[in-house]
Amino acid sequence: MKLLDAETEKTYRVVSIEGGCQSKDRLIKLGILPGVLIILKRKAPLRGPFMVNLNGSDIVIGRGIASKIEVEEIL
């Protein structure tokens, strides 16, 4: 599934980041790369951005980018 369709307060594993995503580079540098676990913390209203937590620190990413990140839920 895409991160875009994820639910808040759940933990996900990043499976892949779509190529051609201009922001892929920055995501990787912030530590969001295939294999890592992230928790979706909150979604801003009116199609606003997502806040995810990675190793205890928060990162905000736009929805467009969230739609390019493939994740799987960790149960």
Binding site: G19, Q22, S23, D25, R26, L27, I28, K29, L30, G31, L33, P34, G35, R42, A44, P45, L46, R47, G48, P49, M51, N55, G56, S57, D58, I59, V60, I61, G62, R63, G64, I65
Partner: protein, 632 residues
């Protein structure tokens, strides 16, 4: 002289450290991308003078935005003897990636492990010696904010050595890198990139490096390497694993069981409804506090200077001499009495806002609104900074990615009333017409910014990549840094505006003494009197206002030929005050701002903003003249 450069990821505390060792020169703030240009300073290590350079934060040497590029450029082109790599100890994994890259530059290097207090609070315990051994570089734990460990750091900078180790990948990867870097070594001369790093970056698809290699005979080798290493993902994964490994070997984490207090604060401040209410209240509160604090002081000081003027009249009898002395005294008095009471508390609160870490949270809240204006939430940061001063606000567009975003943000940021224009809003409109008009003007300003943004979004071509920003923890600044920062921001006013003000006062005095008013006013008459219904005498004030906006309010009453500002209400009607203030809010930015725009966007950008704002100011002031009577 030995030169040391402070290099590290955004928001790790470089500028804080710099200010501790070289004196307060670089603005530190709690959001990534606070520093966008280098600052030089000096300090002593054992009585030896060394040069220190504070650089913008960068996640790695392959830059993403122009601020990061600035750092890489500086690293490659300046004569740097020692690299001080600052690491946020609470984000070790991510930070080591940059450390590994810096190691490959093979220069004397020291790691400053900053934010030890925060790491501890998060339950992270780092075995410094172990880390030092793994990296092969001296590691010094520090708490830059409190000045802890800095002495030891400086000592180690003096004895800095080149790193003893290299980052090593799997055999398959190393073979590919070696093949490419050997080829690069032969065909590319005089490049700053170490060839191994150049090879890695090219394989990973960092455009500047990829193009550099692509132009040579090595291009086929690059293609094969990219194919075999999944466009560099293999390298990226291995490096990440290595960083994880270093972290696990050197640190122990004890997860605190309780949710942190901060996440509860975030639940409120970033709440989909309550968050906006808080944001609104915070801003209204700020303006209200500045206004209610400033107005009584304005009152008090003005009375004082009326007395001084009366006294001067009794002791100086030469009319010209009296005019000049009075002009100077009034000018300085106005600066101290009218501008500073609003400027100081305002700049103080803006500094506080920057330091606690609220701005990135506003970026999150406002992102979807900002999209309507063709920019992203990140642009909130230059906007809010713009309430303090437009120059850093314009410079902050370096952290934005696309040309379109930069243009729109620069234009809109220059429309945000800076603290100098705030003195006009509060000292003129607020003082004479009341606080509700102040709120009204700010709301009107926001509305115009929104509409301008929506129009610019349609006008300008291109798309902008969405925002990614890491949200820093809430932090409390020390009173000392807060005061130093406020002083740093207000310094310009004292050193630049006050002398200019004295000159301006003298010019005005001479103009009226030699009765030149008529000629000069004729120049401005058609636009000011004819079109906007304002006294033509305000032309000179507006011209001086382009030099420095703080002069506007202060020179206003002198230009009108009044003996004190309290008489402005007899020379200007409420409608005229509103028209004038609306014009001042929107018209041409000051020369320093124009210079900053020229630097960031080129002369075309400067011209675009200058013309655009003039037209906008004329239209809006005209509309104010027409419709203000309905509200008064």
């Amino acid at each position: 002289m030995t030169t040391i450069a402070l290099v590290g990821q955004p928001n790790c505390g470089k500028s804080t450290l710099f200010n501790q060792i070289a004196g307060y020169k670089s603005l530190a703030a709690n959001f990534p991308g606070a520093t966008v240009t280098y600052t030089k300073g000096t300090t002593y290590i054992d009585n030896e003078l060394v040069e220190v350079i504070d650089l913008p934060g960068t996640y790695s040497l392959s830059w993403y935005d122009d601020a990061e590029k600035e750092t890489v450029k500086a690293l490659f082109s300046m004569d740097i003897d020692v690299i001080v790599n600052i690491i946020d100890a609470s984000m070790l994994i991510r930070s080591i990636e940059l450390t590994l890259e810096l190691m490959s530059l093979e220069r004397p290097m020291v790691v400053a492990l900053n934010m030890m207090d925060e790491a501890k609070k998060k339950g992270i315990y780092i075995d410094v010696e172990k880390l030092e051994e793994i990296l092969g570089i001296k590691v010094v734990p520090i708490i830059a904010k409190k000045g802890k460990g800095i002495k030891e750091l400086l000592q180690n900078i003096k004895d800095a050595k080149k790193p003893r180790k290299r980052c090593v990948y799997s055999q398959k990867v190393e073979e590919r890198i070696k093949e490419l870097s050997e080829c690069v070594d032969k065909s590319i001369k005089g490049e700053h990139w170490p060839s191994k790093l150049l090879a890695i970056k090219a394989i990973e698809g960092f455009k500047p490096c990829e193009e550099l290699v692509g132009r040579t005979d090595c291009s086929p080798i690059l293609k094969i390497a990219k194919g075999e290493l999944e466009d560099g993902m293999v390298i990226i994964n291995q490096r990440h694993a290595l960083c994880m490994n270093i972290f696990e070997q050197s640190s122990k984490v004890k997860k605190p069981k309780k949710r942190s207090a901060e996440s509860y604060i975030d639940d409120l401040l970033m709440h989909p409804i309550v968050g906006y209410v808080f944001m609104f209240l915070i801003f209204i509160g700020i303006f209200y506090a500045v206004f209610t604090g400033g107005a009584p002081i304005e009152n008090l000081v003005m009375g004082l200077f009326d007395d001084i003027d009366g006294y001067l009249a009794t002791i100086i009898h030469n009319r010209l001499a009296f005019s000049i002395v009075k002009g100077t005294v009034d000018g300085v008095g106005a600066a101290m009495g009218i501008a500073l009471p609003y400027l100081l508390p305002f700049l103080f609160i803006i500094s506080l806002l920057e330091d606690v870490g609220y701005l990135p949270r506003i970026a999150y809240l406002m992102d979807s609104t900002m999209h309507r204006m063709g920019v992203h939430g990140t642009s909130v940061i230059p906007f809010v900074a713009g309430y303090g001063c437009s120059v850093p606000a314009i410079m902050a567009i370096r952290i934005l990615k696309s040309k379109k975003e930069k243009y729109i943000s620069a234009f809109l940021a220059s429309l945000v009333p800076c603290s100098a224009r705030t003195t006009v809003i509060m000292g003129l409109v607020g003082y004479f017409l009341g606080y509700m008009y102040v709120i009204g003007l700010y709301a009107f300003n926001l509305l115009i910014i929104m509409i301008s943004g929506m129009i610019l979004k349609k006008m300008l071509p291109g798309i902008s990549p969405e925002m990614i920003i890491d949200i820093p923890p809430y932090r409390l600044p020390t009173i000392k840094t807060l005061l130093l920062k406020t002083w740093h921001k207000v310094k310009d006013f004292v050193y630049l505006a006050i002398p200019m003000l004295i000159i301006g006062s003298i010019v005005l005095t001479l103009i009226s003494y030699y009765q030149l008013n008529g000629y000069i006013n004729n120049i401005f008459k058609p636009v000011l009197s004819g079109f906007l219904g304002l006294p033509a005498a305000l032309g000179v004030v507006l011209i001086f206002g382009i030099l420095k906006k703080e002069l506007t309010l202060i020179m206003l009453y002198q230009a009108l030929g009044l003996s004190s500002i309290s008489m402005v209400s007899s020379a200007m009607s409420p409608t005229q005050m509103l028209t004038f203030t609306v014009f001042v809010i929107f018209y041409i930015p000051c020369v320093a701002t124009i210079a900053a725009i020229n630097k960031e966007l080129g002369a075309k950008g400067g011209l675009f903003v200058t013309l655009g704002t003039t037209v906008l100011a004329l239209i809006l002031a005209f509309l104010t003249k027409l419709f203000a009577p309905l509200f008064i």
